[in-house]
């Protein structure tokens, strides 16, 4: 009655921390800590234990209505079941990819899916250009159309080793290994020790790691 387990079992999408810890670089205690964070994010607008797109945008931008191509793609990748919301298990599993100890292959694959805007299994030239334009739109950097074309062409030709007008996952992996800084944003250093970096929401964690 009212014990921790029975209470959490009623939350839709809740998964056993031990299962999530086994599937990610996080410890059980860290998964419990992430649940505290998840509860905060998932109740910021709708108190239903799920992260909606508006809540996702609110957390990232402090603005529920600020939409962005990259944020949309990250939301879509976190939403593994593709049902329009992020459940706790999806949140932890996806965040695990950003852990410093996550396999680099997982980071490379996640980044590929992130940039494969139309989920065709390839990164097309027009997708690369669309992302460059989105980046320029959000920054103060102003480049002429000609310069943008040269940047996109050079990068694309360098990555598309087969020269078939599309970057497949194999070419992508080879290109990233040549330029590892391309996936620098796939690692969040502070995920390595959540309990030190974020003691405020770890305080309520109820499971002790031995």
């Amino acid at each position: 009655m009212g014990c921790y387990c029975s209470k959490e079992a009623k939350t839709p999408g809740y998964e056993d921390p031990a299962v999530l810890a086994a599937a990610t670089p996080f410890t059980v205690n860290e998964v419990e800590a992430l649940y505290e964070l998840f509860k905060k994010l998932s109740s910021s607008i709708f108190d239903d234990g799920l992260i909606h797109k508006e809540e996702f945008q609110l957390a990232l931008f402090r603005n529920r209505n600020r939409r962005n191509l990259f944020a949309d793609r990250i939301f879509d990748l976190f939403d593994i079941k593709r049902n329009g919301v992020i459940e706790f298990g999806e949140f932890v599993r996806s965040l695990g990819v950003f852990h410093p100890n996550a396999p680099v292959e997982d980071k490379i694959s996640f980044a590929f899916r992130l940039y494969d805007l139309r989920q065709t299994g390839y990164i097309k030239r027009e997708e690369l250009k669309e992302m460059v334009l989105a980046l320029l739109h959000e920054s103060d950097l102003v480049l002429s159309d000609d310069v943008i074309e040269v940047i996109v062409d050079r990068t694309y030709n360098d990555a598309d080793k087969k020269g078939d007008g599309r970057i497949d996952e194999e070419e992508w992996k080879e290109f990233v290994l040549k330029h590892p800084s391309m996936i620098k944003n796939m690692t969040l250093p502070y995920l390595k020790d959540i309990s030190v970096a974020f003691p405020s929401f770890v305080m309520t964690s109820e499971v002790e790691d031995s």
């Binding site: 950097l141 940047i151 996109v152 944003n185």
Partner: protein
């Protein structure tokens, strides 16, 4: 060839440029 081809930014890796997007930074999740 266009003089823009000599622009210093033309040697930037487009994916590195994209990776600089603040919208790809998930730090916001962890801010109070």
């Amino acid at each position: 060839r266009s003089p823009d081809a000599q622009h210093p930014y033309t040697h930037i890796n487009a994916f590195q440029l994209i990776g600089m997007s603040s919208c790809l930074d998930l730090s916001g999740f962890f801010e109070k």
